[in-house]
C-alpha cells in the first residue's frame, strides 16, 4: 500500500487499484465467483450484516484462518490475496448507503451494471481533479440504451452519491464532496459487473 500522503490521487490510480483487486477476484473459479455474487446479492442493503462479514473476514485473515465459499459441486477456498481483494470491495460497498446497495441489486437484476459503470467512470474521468462545483455535459449516448425505469434507477444510484443528473441537456452538476462515494460506487460496480459477466 502506498502511504496516503505520497499517493498520486487521480482517476487513473483508482482505476489501476480497482483493476488490480478485480484481477484477484477473477482468480476465483466460476462457481466461486457465482457463489460470491449470490452472497453479496443477499447482503447488499443490509449494511450491518455486510459490515459483520467484513469484520469476520478481516479477523480470519489476521489469524491465518481458512475461509471457503459454499459452492457446488465443491466449496471454493479463498486465497489470502483473494480475501484481501474481497475486503477491498466490501470496504467500498459498505461506504455506500443501504439504498444505494439495494439499487445495485436491482441494477444487477436488470443487467444494466455495464452502463452504470461506464457512466460513473466517465464522470470521474472528467472531474476527479475538479475541486469546484460545476455543471458538465453528459455524453448523450451514455444513457441512451436505458428504458425509463432503468434511467430512474441509474439517476437514483448516482443521485444518492449526491450527484444530480439532469435529463434536459443532458448534464450533471459535479460536486467534489461526492468523490469518495462515487469512487466507492465505481469499485462496487466494477466488482458486481465482473461477477455477473458469465451469468
Amino acid at each position: 500500500t502506498v502511504p496516503l500522503g505520497e499517493m498520486h490521487k487521480d482517476f487513473k490510480t483508482l482505476k489501476k487499484e480497482v483493476q488490480r483487486e478485480t484481477q484477484e477476484v477473477e482468480k476465483l473459479s466460476p462457481v466461486g465467483q457465482s457463489s460470491l455474487l449470490t452472497s453479496l446479492s443477499h447482503l447488499l442493503g443490509k449494511k450491518k450484516e455486510l459490515q459483520d462479514l467484513e469484520q469476520k473476514l478481516e479477523g480470519a485473515l489476521r489469524k491465518g484462518q481458512e475461509v471457503t465459499l459454499e459452492a457446488h459441486p465443491k466449496d471454493a477456498l479463498l486465497s489470502n490475496d483473494t480475501m484481501v481483494a474481497i475486503l477491498y470491495f466490501l470496504g467500498a460497498l459498505t461506504e455506500l448507503s443501504e439504498e444505494q446497495q439495494k439499487l445495485l441489486v436491482k441494477s444487477l437484476e436488470k443487467k444494466i451494471l455495464p452502463v452504470q459503470l461506464k457512466l460513473v467512470e466517465n464522470i470521474l474521468e472528467q472531474n476527479f481533479l475538479q475541486d469546484k462545483e460545476g455543471v458538465f455535459p453528459l455524453q448523450p449516448d451514455l444513457l441512451s440504451s436505458l428504458g425509463e425505469e432503468e434511467l430512474i434507477l441509474t439517476e437514483a444510484l448516482v443521485g444518492l452519491s449526491g450527484l444530480e443528473v439532469q435529463r434536459s441537456g443532458p448534464q450533471y452538476t459535479w460536486n467534489p464532496d461526492t468523490r469518495h462515494n462515487l469512487c466507492a460506487l465505481y469499485a462496487g460496480l466494477s466488482l458486481l459487473h465482473l461477477l455477473s459477466r458469465e451469468s
Binding site: 477491498y88 437514483a156 462515494n181
Partner: protein, 247 residues
C-alpha cells in the same frame, strides 16, 4: 448519504485537504471518538474512500495500570480531560473558529457550526507514557493481541461548541422523487431527512495515531506511521487457531 454524513465529510474536506481527518458516520458514534479513545481500523486502507475506524469502547487510560499522575479517574461519568491529563484545548489556528458548512449543498443559510479542536497535548502524553505502563492482563488487550489487531488512539477531534440544527434549504441533494422509488419497488426504503440536530460537544471528525506496544507493558504513539507497523509484535502472538469459516 445521511445529512449528518454530508456535514462531517464536508467538514473533513474543508479543514483537511491532506485527508488524515476521518469524518464520523453516525450520531450513534458520538461517544466513541473522544480524545484518547482506542479504535480499530476497519478495512484495508485506500485514499479513495478513506479509512474507517470502529469503536472499541475503551480508552488508552482504561488499559493502563493505575497511576497517581495524572490522577486516576474515579467517576467516569464526570470524566474531564482537562483535569486529568491537561488535554490541550485550542481554537483552530489555520481555519476560522466558526466554519460555515456547505451553503451550496442545500443547507440553509443559518446552518453554521461552531467548532473547536481538542487535541492531546504531547507533553502530557509523554508524561503519561513514562508514568503508567500497560496493564498487560487487561482482557481487551489480550483479545486484541490474540487477534493481531492494530489499535489506534484518537489524538485530535473537532467537536461542536453549540447545539445546532441543520436543515436542507428546500432542495434535497438528490434530484429524483420518492414516487420514482415506488416505481422501483423501493417504497419506504429511502429515508430523506430534512434536518438534523447535532448536540453540543458532538465529535464530527477526528484524527488517530497508531498505538505501538513493545513487550508486555511498554507503549508509545510514534509521530510517523506506515501500514507495515503492527501494534503488537507478531512474534509474541500465541499459537494461531486453525478455524474454517464458510461464507
Amino acid at each position: 448519504m445521511s445529512m449528518f454524513e454530508d456535514v462531517t465529510r464536508a467538514l473533513a474536506r474543508q479543514l483537511n485537504p491532506g485527508d488524515d481527518l476521518t469524518p464520523i458516520d453516525s450520531l450513534f458514534d458520538l461517544r466513541c471518538f473522544s480524545p484518547l479513545s482506542l479504535v480499530l481500523r476497519k478495512r484495508k486502507r485506500t485514499w479513495f474512500w478513506g479509512a474507517r475506524y470502529v469503536c472499541s469502547n475503551y480508552t488508552l487510560l482504561d488499559v493502563l495500570e493505575p497511576g497517581s499522575s495524572p490522577s486516576d479517574p474515579t467517576d467516569s461519568g464526570n470524566f474531564s480531560f482537562k483535569n486529568m491529563l491537561d488535554v490541550q484545548v485550542q481554537g483552530l489556528v489555520e481555519v476560522p473558529k466558526t466554519v460555515k458548512v456547505k451553503e451550496t449543498e442545500g443547507l440553509s443559510r443559518s446552518s453554521t457550526l461552531e467548532i473547536q479542536t481538542l487535541s492531546v497535548a504531547p507533553l502530557a502524553l509523554e508524561n503519561l507514557r513514562k508514568e503508567r505502563k500497560l496493564s498487560a492482563d487487561h482482557p481487551f488487550l489480550k483479545e486484541m493481541r490474540e487477534r493481531g489487531e492494530n489499535l489506534y488512539v484518537v489524538m485530535e477531534v473537532v467537536e461542536t461548541l453549540q447545539e445546532v440544527t441543520l436543515e436542507r434549504a428546500g432542495k434535497a441533494n438528490t434530484n429524483f422523487s420518492l414516487p420514482s422509488f415506488a416505481l422501483l419497488g423501493l417504497q419506504g426504503s429511502v429515508n430523506h431527512k430534512e434536518g438534523v440536530t447535532i448536540p453540543k460537544g458532538c465529535v464530527l471528525v477526528y484524527r488517530v495515531k497508531q498505538l505501538m506496544i513493545n513487550g508486555e507493558d511498554k507503549w508509545e504513539i510514534p509521530h510517523i506511521c506506515n501500514d507495515s507497523m503492527k501494534t503488537f509484535n507478531p512474534s509474541e502472538k500465541p499459537g494461531e487457531e486453525k478455524l474454517v469459516h464458510t461464507l
